[in-house]
């Protein structure tokens, strides 16, 4: 059976070149980088080389990269670490957008609950973009930081980060962006964006799960969120995950070499998928920005059906996609992101998200375009909501 795995934002295979680079660091080259003897110092040198690869990918300096266990940990460190380091001087207000990842939203809520911070959850427009003017109005003299994600894994929209940063720069407020969805998918340069902190996830680049990184502009103080010793220059405790770090470094090196070509390739597949769905399927809502979007991301809502049922049906045809929000999906709740862009609950229930990788091929897109319309039609034939809508339409 033809297979089309298009859920790469949820999980993507480790690249063979990455695994090959990692393997010696499990058994033969096992030293602790903090050890003073040669078995340690050579591992320390390898680790710093990898830090350089990650830094180069985003236009940063090596000493501005902290390795973490995940993008979620990097988001926690950025938000809680910076807010707690700064509040004595500035105050207790922070701003995030309403469509952030849970690791951003819940870090903000943690500060609200346990440290009496005031959090502004900025609304977004129908494409999921934050208006710089609204951000400007939300800033106060007590604002310690702003965190707005670069690209949305749920609706694919990419924010106008430089415009948002400009507003914050003028007010002297540091800006963090969760770039898990963009780094490795499209060119990202911290100096072009102007951000002060930026989150990276290893798996998004073809590195294994369990590794991520935080870029922080030099001189920023962060309160460690994992207390420990001198690891990561005293900013993040815990013996370093050297195989993971080597994997991330190799993945960053490959991403650097392939990035422009990859973004063009993914955008071509994405556009083919979006155009095919729009042409063949009535009553589809295309979500996110039509142009300012991730190159490998296509997202839709099909009114009258449940996204989970559609995922299940498609998987029987070897097609693997997502509803977009694993947490909301498992709890059978409407996605907060879709709610924030004004999608009605009865439409948001039928959310379907495809996230592509360089491993996907054009014939897989055709496989999806062949099987998606009958799957939606079948589910709608069982749907009382859809029947009611059709009856009302026929009667009108």
């Amino acid at each position: 059976m033809q297979r089309a795995y298009m859920d790469h934002a949820a999980a993507t295979p480790v690249r063979p070149e990455v695994l090959e680079a990692m393997l010696p660091f499990f058994v033969e080259r096992f030293g602790n980088p903090s050890a003073v003897y040669d078995l340690g110092s050579e591992i320390k040198a390898v680790m710093e080389e990898q830090r350089g690869q990650v830094a180069r990918l985003i236009g940063a300096r090596s000493d501005e990269i902290i390795f973490t266990s995940s993008g979620a940990e990097a988001n926690n460190l950025a938000i809680k670490g910076l807010a707690l380091a700064t509040f004595l001087k500035r105050g207790k207000h922070l701003i995030v957008s309403a469509i952030e990842h849970h690791s951003v939203l819940n870090s903000a809520r943690f500060l609200e609950k346990f440290f009496d911070f005031e959090v502004t959850f900025l609304p977004v427009d129908r494409y999921g973009r934050v208006d710089p003017e609204r951000l400007k109005q939300a800033l106060t003299p007590a604002t310690v930081m702003v965190s707005i994600g670069h690209g949305s894994n749920e609706i694919g929209t990419v924010q106008a980060i430089p415009d948002l940063v400009a507003v914050c720069r003028a007010a002297g407020v540091p800006f963090h962006t969760d770039a898990v969805a963009t780094v490795g998918q499209a060119p990202v340069d911290v100096n072009e964006l102007g951000v002060d902190l930026l989150t990276i996830s290893g798996p998004a680049l073809g590195a294994p799960k369990g590794i991520g990184a935080l870029y922080f502009r030099n001189k920023l103080r962060l309160v460690p969120q994992l207390n420990g010793g001198i690891q990561e220059n005293g900013r993040r405790g815990g013996t370093e995950n050297i195989p993971g770090i080597v994997g991330l470094g190799r993945a960053a090196e490959l991403a650097w070499q392939e990035l422009d070509e990859k973004a063009v390739y993914l955008a071509k597949l994405r556009d083919l998928l979006i155009a095919g769905v729009r042409k063949n399927m009535p009553e589809v809502l295309f979500t996110g920005h039509p142009e300012k979007r991730l190159p490998g991301h296509a997202s839709f809502c099909f009114e009258g059906i449940e996204g989970e049922a559609l995922i299940f049906l498609l998987s029987s045809q070897g097609i693997y996609a997502n509803t977009g929000s694993a947490c909301a999906s498992k709890a059978l709740k409407t996605s907060p992101v879709l709610g924030a862009i004004g999608v009605k609950p009865e439409v948001a229930q039928g959310s379907l998200v495809f996230t592509l990788s360089r491993a996907n091929r054009e014939e897989e897109v055709h496989h999806v375009l062949k099987h998606l319309p009958p799957a939606v039609e079948k589910l709608r034939s069982f749907s009382p909501v859809w029947r009611k809508k059709m009856a009302a339409g026929a009667g009108a």
Binding site: N227, N233, G234
Partner: protein, 84 residues
Amino acid sequence: MKFLDHCPADATADLVYRACPMHLLEPMELIKDLEPGQVLEILTDYDGALEDIPAWCAKHGQEFMGISEDACGDCYKLYIKKQS
């Protein structure tokens, strides 16, 4: 302990919120790049640095100049003058 009002520095090591013993490790590296007579400023929120840094200076032949408190009160500032 000698208290200083203001001390111009040639280099600064910002160790605020960073784990012990970074308050020793990073200054040890930075001071290598200074010329004799130049001053290294160390910013730290770690109380133990008040003992450790003068002791380190005495052991390694560097001049511990003194301490001042940050205007915001969230860290100490310690000063070392590099000897030969």
